[in-house]
Structures are given as structure tokens and as C-alpha cells.
């Protein structure tokens, strides 16, 4: 019973990982790629590592530590990367309709001067 639940959870995680990598491969823009890749990959890694912990109950604690670490640090690095790529001047895709960050660019620059 443990094995079946673990393999189901792990299969969902692997499907999310594959879809995230496919999105990174196919999407047209840095920001689209970041969104697809980060969301799908975070959930996919979390689910597959937790599935491993369910299959082998002796490993569950260490698997939980790795999964929670991935769950915390992956959005932080993606956010830093998106901010850096916007500020280093990468343009949005032609068909993207909204650019909320343009309104706050002044605020960002003021923050920069304060530092």
C-alpha cells in the first residue's frame, strides 16, 4: 500500500518536471520560461522527493528536509533572476500585453541610490 501511494505521488511529480522542462524549451521569452520552469519544477521536485520518502519510510525525514529546502529557495532564486534580467535590459515578447514593472522603475532606481 505504501509503495502504491508513493509511486502515484512520484509519477505526478515526474509529470510536472517533464512539463516544466518542455515549457522552458518551447516558450518564447525569458519571463515566460521562468514562470513555466519555476512553478512546475518546484512542485515536481517536491512531489517526487516526498514520494521517495513515502516508499522508503526510513528516509522520510531527510527527504522532507531536501523537499522543504527546494520549496523555499527555488522561488527566491527565480525572483532574483527575473529582477536581474529585467534590469539588465531584456525586452518582453512582442505579444505580451502588460508590463507592471515599468510603473515602478523609478522606485527601483531610488532604492538603488539609497544603497
Amino acid at each position: 500500500m505504501n509503495q502504491i501511494i508513493g509511486y502515484i505521488v512520484m509519477g505526478m511529480g515526474v509529470a510536472f518536471l517533464f512539463l516544466g522542462a518542455l515549457g522552458v524549451f518551447r516558450f518564447p521569452d525569458v519571463y515566460n520560461r521562468l514562470q513555466a520552469g519555476t512553478k512546475c519544477t518546484t512542485l515536481g521536485a517536491f512531489l517526487s522527493i516526498i514520494g521517495t520518502g513515502i516508499i522508503e519510510p526510513a528516509w522520510f525525514l531527510k527527504c522532507l528536509i531536501i523537499a522543504i529546502f527546494v520549496l523555499f529557495t527555488n522561488p527566491i532564486s527565480a525572483h532574483a533572476l527575473a529582477r536581474a534580467s529585467y534590469k539588465s535590459g531584456v525586452k518582453l515578447w512582442d505579444k505580451s500585453v502588460v508590463d507592471k514593472c515599468k510603473e515602478f522603475e523609478e522606485c527601483i532606481n531610488v532604492e538603488e541610490e539609497d544603497k
Binding site: 509519477g11 517533464f18 520560461r33 520552469g37 532574483a80 536581474a84 539588465s88
Partner: protein, 83 residues
């Protein structure tokens, strides 16, 4: 058998992210590709530990996660305003 199928799918995903890291037009594209590839590789290492019944793979995957986090933050800071 199920685990072997999962490993094959994950290897295909790693190769897709690696292609994006090689041919990305700008440098943030490459960093995104490497970041996604590393996150998929962490899951791949945990599954390999289950496949070979070795517990040491979990430690390797945890250290790899920490190093990739520090590396991506450093590269983002470099792209932002220089080191």
C-alpha cells in the same frame, strides 16, 4: 520497472533544459536553463538513490541544492549591478 520509466522521463527533461541552456539567445536565458536543469537533477539524484538503494545520494542532492542556490543568486547579482 516503474522507477526505470520515471528515470527515463526525467533524463529527457534534463536534456530539454540543457538544450535551452546551450542555445538561449541572451545570458538570462542560459541561467534559467541551468537553474531548471539543476532542480530537475536534484529530483533525479533522489530517485537514483532509491534505484540503487544507497542513502548517500540524498546527501549529495542536498549539497547540490545549496550550491545551485548560491550560484544562481551570485549570477543574478552579477547581471543586476555587477559584482
Amino acid at each position: 520497472m516503474t522507477l526505470l520509466t520515471f528515470l527515463g522521463v526525467i533524463v529527457v527533461a534534463v536534456i530539454l533544459a540543457l538544450i535551452r541552456a546551450i542555445k538561449g539567445p541572451t545570458s538570462p536565458d542560459r541561467v534559467v536553463g541551468v537553474d531548471i536543469m539543476v532542480t530537475i537533477t536534484i529530483a533525479l539524484m533522489v530517485l537514483l538513490g532509491l534505484f540503487f538503494k544507497r542513502r548517500i545520494y540524498l546527501d549529495v542532492s542536498l549539497i547540490y541544492a545549496v550550491l545551485s542556490f548560491v550560484g544562481v543568486i551570485a549570477v543574478a547579482r552579477y547581471l543586476d549591478k555587477g559584482l
